[in-house]
Symmetry: C2
Subunit: 71 residues, 2 copies
């Protein structure tokens, strides 16, 4: 479970507006935060499995980048 | 282009650690921010298209939720 403070609702508003939206509902911004946190957690877990398989304890850039396609 | 301040690197560290990682490299956290911002922008644009098709100017929760599967 990812807590609400991980991704700020203000950041979600900015991203959705950057996507071209004129207005964003508060619950819409919260929903995007929930979705992105879920995806981030999935990518993180996937990258961790790969790192451990490679005998590393650290989640590195290349592993996180390579795992985005599968999430 | 999404600017760096949209998603905090600290939040990425928390998410990756929540995924179980013992250690997270700085560039790894930045990479996750880049990936999630990209996905967020994609979901936002997709949701906007749907909202406009429905004659709405606001990106709402249900639209953002329904578009996550396609991003």
């Amino acid at each position: 479970m990812v807590s609400e403070e991980d991704l700020s609702v203000a950041a979600m508003h900015r991203i959705i507006k950057k996507a071209g939206a004129e207005r964003v509902s508060e619950s819409g911004a919260k929903e995007l935060a929930r979705v992105l946190e879920e995806i981030g957690l999935k990518i993180g877990k996937d990258a961790l499995e790969f790192s451990m398989y490679a005998g590393r304890k650290q989640s590195k850039e290349k592993t996180l980048r390579s795992r985005q396609r599968n999430s």
